[in-house]
Amino acid sequence: MRTYFARQHYLIDYALAALLRRKTRNLGLLLVYILLVFLFASVLLLSQGLRREAAILLQDAPEITVQRLVAGRHDLLPIQDLEILRRIRGVGEVRGRLWGYYYDPVAKANYTVMAAPERNLANDRMLIGAALAGVRQLGVGDVLSLRAADGTPALFKVAEILTSTSELLSADLMLVSEAAFRTLFQLPPDRYTDATLTVRNPREANLIAQKISLALPSSRPLLRSEILRTYHAVFDWREGLTFLCLAPLLLAFLVLAWDKAAGLSPEEKREIGILKAMGWETGDILRMKLWESALLSLTAFLVGYLLAWWQVFHNGGRLFAPVLRGWSVLYPDFRLTAAVGLDQILVLLAVTTLPYMIATLIPGWRASITDPDAAMRG
């Protein structure tokens, strides 16, 4: 066993010396390799982190949300419909929600305005998200003037800024009292934006949604499972699209690696011929080549992955923020909790390292089975 390890040690020594002999070329390859792994791992980790965050946070989303549709468009829900929903067997608590959007021409941003009855806010007080406070440079006690639906100014004093740790949920939120909401949007007192309900037996959610569709034919029930599925699909899709954009980079790298590894230079062929003439076996040459490619590709994979991990979970994924942000003015400043799926990382490892190792081994094997004399003569 000791001899085996000593032998491997010498082979690694030799492989490193061979790599260092072509220092510039191999260093360039290593840097490109690291960049490739970094980009793919960043997308993978960011999507995984967001998927997990959405799954954790939205597991407490309303079991069923009921919207009213008129001519295929979302309409306000009459208060009488809440009573009809309460009468459906299996339905627990029914709450009417008041929420909407307010476009602020000053910041050129859309805010989500919500009534928060549990907060017992005075009619001229509001709670705002941290990103909104940042964009409008507001602090506690400052006054924000909004334009009500009837054109009159509505003044609100900032009572509190929602904690920055909740920014992924509340970046653009503006919480007001129910009366203030109705005044701001000139909403009749017998209308709600939509309704949320709890279900006594969660396994019956689907059945109850069907009952709702029968009881209120012009309504649309949205299940919590659909919300979770939507988010899963959103991040899967984005991940796929970004991978598609990165695919040319991967192909370019594969061509580069193939060119570097497959086309053994005459010196490398002569080197292998000399080794064979000195008594090296084909197996030793293959092992040396394997070490050479493994050292390079594993180092690139680990460095690229670790950089991506730091970038996504400790630097807020700033590199990919523009992709997520689009034209948004308000963008949450969030820290994702580390979420790494070992299976996906192993797939990434296989996709990025195996082709390179194979591309290095095959020409090495070809050169090592030729006659040493022929190999040395080129």
Partner: protein, 103 residues
């Protein structure tokens, strides 16, 4: 470089040592992820979701249908006028809601 500082060190020892450090860091990232799985620091945010009945993350705030993708219809992105094209960058990068009772 290290072999220059420590002449008795072989190149292979240095390379394997570096690789071992990188592998250790890699394992630590996996352990960190596993450790966070059992954490309950989302409690305050989950309470906010329960209190307000929130349905969406405020990640894409540029258009109404991207701010609340779970609450929109498949055609919302094209609602401005007949034959309207969807033009927000986020909208072109996300799937429509996955609804069972969707129109």
């Amino acid at each position: 470089m290290l072999t220059g500082l420590f002449p008795h060190l072989r190149k292979a020892t240095v390379a394997l040592g570096l690789l071992a450090v990188l592998l250790l860091l890699f394992t630590l990232t996996l352990a960190d992820s596993a450790w966070h799985t059992g954490q309950t620091h989302h409690a305050a945010n989950r309470a906010l979701v329960r209190e307000l009945g929130l349905t969406d993350l405020s990640l894409f705030t540029e258009a109404r249908y991207t701010r609340h993708p779970s609450q929109t219809d498949r055609h919302t992105a094209f609602q401005d006028h007949p034959a309207a094209l969807e033009h927000f960058p986020t909208g072109s990068l996300m799937l429509p809601p996955q609804l069972k009772f969707a129109p």
